[in-house]
């Protein structure tokens, strides 16, 4: 069970909102890069987010670049899962590869600052603040296996190959 607060964002939050290209010189200095996470979507996010909190977004979250640094710094600042109406393909794969759950659900029913409980096994989101109970779409089996090992690198270290 994951618990934390919702940080609400809109549609089409791109990888440039999360980790802009102008900070590319910090990509080999991840703790410094993480201080700027989501900066161009909400400059106050990095200072307010705490361990376990959720990013709750609209449609097409993470569109744009293949830069894995985007889900990496989101993971580093303690976000326990991303909830969105839909997510861009490369970002989805990158997040799962880093062990960061991305859950597709109707995020209109969650408000900024709501306290959430997410049950990854049952596939449910419980909005404690407003009482709404949501279900999220099933993650594809292959990605569930990777997520279950904590990401792609630990998965490959364990099995030595793809086991489909």
């Amino acid at each position: 069970m994951l618990t934390g607060r919702a940080f609400k964002f809109g549609d089409n939050i791109s990888t440039d909102h999360i980790t802009p290209g102008r900070l590319a010189h910090l990509r080999s200095n991840l703790p410094e890069l993480a201080k700027h996470v989501m900066e161009d979507a909400d400059p106050t996010f990095a200072s307010r987010v705490t361990l376990g909190d959720f990013i709750v977004a609209g449609a097409n979250f993470g569109l744009g670049s293949s830069r894995e640094h985007a889900p990496l710094v989101i993971n580093m600042v303690g976000v326990s899962a991303i909830l969105a109406k839909s997510v861009a393909r490369i970002f989805f794969r990158n997040a799962i590869n880093l062990g960061l759950p991305v859950l597709i659900c109707d995020t209109d029913k969650i408000n900024d600052g709501d306290k959430l409980e997410v049950d990854l096994i049952a596939g449910t989101v419980n909005d404690i603040t407003n009482g709404n109970r949501l279900t999220f779409s099933q993650i594809p089996e292959v990605m569930l296996c990777i997520l279950g090992e904590g990401g792609l690198i630990p998965y490959i270290k364990k099995y030595g190959d793809f086991r489909l």
Binding site: H17, G21, R27, N60, S66, R93, N94
Partner: protein
């Protein structure tokens, strides 16, 4: 049962009946990273415990995003990539060689290949019939080590393009129009497969422009059949032996079919801050532009520079508008010098950048100031993309870019030619 291009290539390479929605593991013919994704790729490769590349001659690194490096942080990343290439004997393309996707097209990609790169515009190689898609550093690191990866076989959307392009209208206008119609996530997880009379006679440079932007509709791949035009292109690159014809089956199953008659299109612009926010260039007439950027993996090829040079020939850029030009590769730059395009552009007031990504992603070489607007031939106009979240990016064709450089305001190129 007939197969789409995506299904055909993934079936052949995975040795299985790879129909849409199935999951396959396939060997890759090329796996690469560039200088902003490569350092993390190398660290993930090392964390995974790999010591050797599965296929050094099918693994490449490109120093193109920060080329030459604007600061010591990125210079150190370049050192890391060069050392890794020395240690592993992989291919490396250094500062000044050009943009990874252009170099992959010129020198490496073959029809029927599977190509994965740690860069979202890896889809560009779909222009010559390769199944090419972007992935992140972890996936690329594992493919460095294992020589393969897993794919969900995408459903395909068939885009049938017919008619003749009116004067001043190009492939860029077509792909902006398509993305505007289906939306920035209109093809997420899917492949866009382009066909029709217009595509059958379309030059490779325009096919690459369209394939390049498939990802801006969320697509996993933007695919063209490999035909005689592909063959002639490979021959011109000294790679005629790399050609094989690749076509979808006539009875392939598509998720949907979209028909576009290009005769009905007009010069098109994507407004800030999403690519699907399209309007016609004439509808933005009068919008002041401080910077015009001609280049990138979308529109930095010889044919693109030719279009702009011919419009700007004997004319001057507007005094309040700067024109920045970045050829996509060393080969493009040399050919553009030989053809006289670079001289025409410089005389019109352009500044020429070294081959590479240039100003596109906001690292250097054309960062926008507060409140400034740029007309760019690139593929993205997200907030902050060109280095400043308080700036505005409009996307258009090389012709629209050249016309806008002359007037200093967004201009339909049909008004100046």
């Amino acid at each position: 049962m007939g197969k789409t291009l995506a299904e055909k290539i993934l079936s052949q390479k995975s040795g299985s009946d790879a129909l849409a929605e199935s999951i396959v593991v396939a060997e890759v013919d090329l796996v690469f990273a560039q200088d902003t994704t490569g350092p993390l790729t190398i660290r993930q490769f090392q964390t995974s415990g790999f010591e050797h590349l599965a296929n050094p001659n099918k693994t490449a690194l490109f120093l193109d995003h920060a080329a030459p490096s604007p600061n010591y942080g990125l210079s150190s990343d370049h050192i890391l990539l060069r050392r890794f290439a020395q240690q592993t004997s992989c291919l490396i393309f250094d500062v000044g060689d050009g943009i990874c996707h252009q170099l992959v097209a010129e020198s490496l990609a073959k029809p029927g290949d599977i190509i994965i790169g740690a860069d979202s515009h890896t889809v560009t190689a779909g222009g010559l019939g390769a199944f090419a898609t972007g992935m992140g550093s972890s996936d690329i690191a594992i493919a460095f080590g294992l020589g393969k990866t897993w794919f969900r076989v995408p459903e395909s959307i068939k885009v049938v393009v017919t008619g003749n392009f009116p004067g001043g209208v190009y492939a860029k206008d077509l792909i902006l129009h398509l993305i505007g119609n289906i939306g920035a996530n209109g093809a997420t997880y899917k492949a866009l497969e382009f066909s029709g009379d217009t595509v059958d006679s379309m030059a490779m440079s325009q096919r690459f422009t369209i394939a390049n932007m498939a990802v801006e509709a969320g697509a996993k791949a933007g695919l063209f059949a490999a035909d005689n035009i592909t063959k002639d292109y490979l021959i011109s690159q000294g790679r005629g032996n790399h050609y094989q014809s690749v076509f979808p089956d006539a009875d392939a199953t598509y998720e949907q079919t979209i028909n576009i008659d290009v005769a009905e299109l007009e010069p098109t612009i994507s407004k800030p801050h999403t690519v699907d926010n399209i309007v016609l260039a004439r509808e933005l007439k009068g919008t002041e532009i401080q910077q015009v950027f001609l280049g990138t993996c979308t529109n930095g090829r010889l044919e693109d520079l030719a279009i702009a040079a011919n419009i700007l020939k004997g004319k001057k850029c507007h005094p309040e508008t700067r024109l920045i030009v970045a050829p996509a590769s060393r080969q493009v730059l040399l050919a553009a010098i030989k053809a006289g395009y670079i001289q025409k552009l410089i005389k019109a007031g352009a500044v020429i950048l070294p081959p590479g990504c240039g100003a596109c992603l906001g690292l250097h070489q054309g960062v926008l100031g507060d409140g400034e607007s740029c007309l760019s031939t690139a593929n993205r106009n997200f907030r902050g993309r060109m280095g400043n979240p308080r700036a505005f990016i409009y996307l258009g064709s090389p012709a629209t870019a050249a016309a806008t450089a002359i007037t200093g305001k967004i201009t339909d190129p049909r008004e100046v030619v």
